[in-house]
Amino acid sequence: MAGTPANIYEQQSANRRNTTVVMAAFVLFVGFLGFGFDAFILGFGGEDALLAYPVATILALLLGGFSAYNGLQSGAVSVLRSAGAEPAPAEDPRYRQLHNVVEEMAIAAGVPKPQVFVIPDGDPNAFATGKDPANASIAVTRGLLEQLTREELQAVVAHEMGHVRNYDIRLMTVVAALIGAVMLLTELGMRTMRFGGGRRKSSSRSGGGGGAILFVIWLIALILAPFISRLLAMAVSRQREFLADASGAELTRNPSALASALEKIDAAVEPTRSIKKGTAHLCIANPLGGDINDREGFVADLFATHPPIRKRIMLLKGMAYQHA
């Protein structure tokens, strides 16, 4: 962070790198939980190997993946419905400008124009959804249309277009699949532990010491798993927010407009009631209000879907400075 501020492109490649690191850690963590389950409880890999494959790992990933895939297919419709979003007709003079701005950003991103929705809520906010750029939707609140200038509206739409172009909806589905797998393994693991440790004794292939230590580490990981998986998921979400900010700035070549839009959104104190918690990671700013995202601090930062808004504004101003 020291020295010259990162430009639009450096910022994006740094965020992409960070996403890869966190996702790799996530996959390794799920792998450790799963193989531990297979080794310690089902006896995979022991002399009297019950099964030749790590069944629990594969099953957990399949089930997690299946439920997440289901969510992806029906996701856009249910997310829009739960937020009370209404289609914004292009002929309506009130939404002409919004449609123009969305089309401008679609052209800049080189993707088809997403469907446009309006949420009847006075608080300024916006989100994007849809499984790929060809099936994307962008929803903005009435408050956003009322309070932002054309340039700021364009910047917010560009941020959402960034989420669409970067396949963030798909990435967060993969994250949801991993969380699903973790939940399944934790549930099964805890249940089996309670009934007396499965086939653990017969599978102590490394013989005593090493195996026992590994088992204790695995048990601790299992207990902390819901907590750790949430931390990793939120870390991914925050990287994608930074990335969408930088992508939006790349599309408009106007980082200052997004900075001033964020300032206005930050100044609006009310939480966006229409947008439910599950959609939070796709919004321009946390719809739950400033309770977590505003309080800077180590622990608060770790559990937030969005990075602190002031930090985002600072980075955007740095990009504007580099761009000028």
Binding site: R96, N100, R150
Partner: protein, 188 residues
């Protein structure tokens, strides 16, 4: 024997690489063509909107006949443009003429208050934006295409199959470079 096997593997590897290179060049070429089409669509839209705008403002701006004439002349020249460089120059001149018209319109409060004119202005300024974003996308993708043709070893494949660099859509008109900063955005 094992030497022969290694040789075959290397040949297969080179062929696979060449196919991948060729395919990515073809993909980029199509994206460039598509990017150009996007610009074209927006330019056409602008050409269609201008007579509308001129007709609407004519009554209000009778003392600015010359400016209106210039816009119409620039528009007609732009409609007849051929090729990237020619289009870029003529569209640049049109943008310059239009922005002068918009700057003058600021002096006519009744004109600015007209709902019809307001909507036309939003449409035109959005079209201007779309043109510049389409140009930005086109130039980015064309630059990527050109770089892919020039860097080693991709240039070998580009040379064999006769790929040629794409022209960038550059602003050649000095007038557009110094567009007066007029904020025509309609505040909601």
């Amino acid at each position: 024997m094992s030497f022969f096997l290694i040789f075959v593997l290397i040949v297969i590897g080179v062929i696979v690489w060449a196919i991948a290179q060729y395919n990515s060049l073809v993909t980029l070429k199509n994206q460039v063509a598509n990017g150009w089409k996007q610009i074209d669509v927006q330019l056409k839209r602008r050409h269609d909107l201008i007579p509308n705008l001129v007709n609407t403002v004519k009554g209000y701006m009778e003392f600015e006949q010359e400016t209106l004439q210039k816009v119409i002349a620039a528009r007609n020249a732009a409609v007849g443009a051929t090729g990237v460089a020619d289009a870029a120059a003529k569209e640049g001149a049109l943008s310059g003429a239009l922005s002068r018209l918009f700057a003058l319109a600021e002096n006519y409060p009744t004109l600015k208050a007209n709902e019809n004119v307001k909507q036309l202005q939003e449409e035109l300024s959005s079209t201007e934006n779309k043109i510049s974003f389409a140009r930005q996308f086109y130039n980015d993708i064309a630059t990527k295409f050109n770089i892919a043709q020039q860097v080693f070893p991709g240039n070998i494949i580009a040379g064999i199959f006769g790929f040629t660099p794409s022209e960038l859509f550059e602003i050649t008109d000095a007038a557009e470079r110094n567009v007066p900063q007029v904020d025509l955005s309609l505040k909601k």
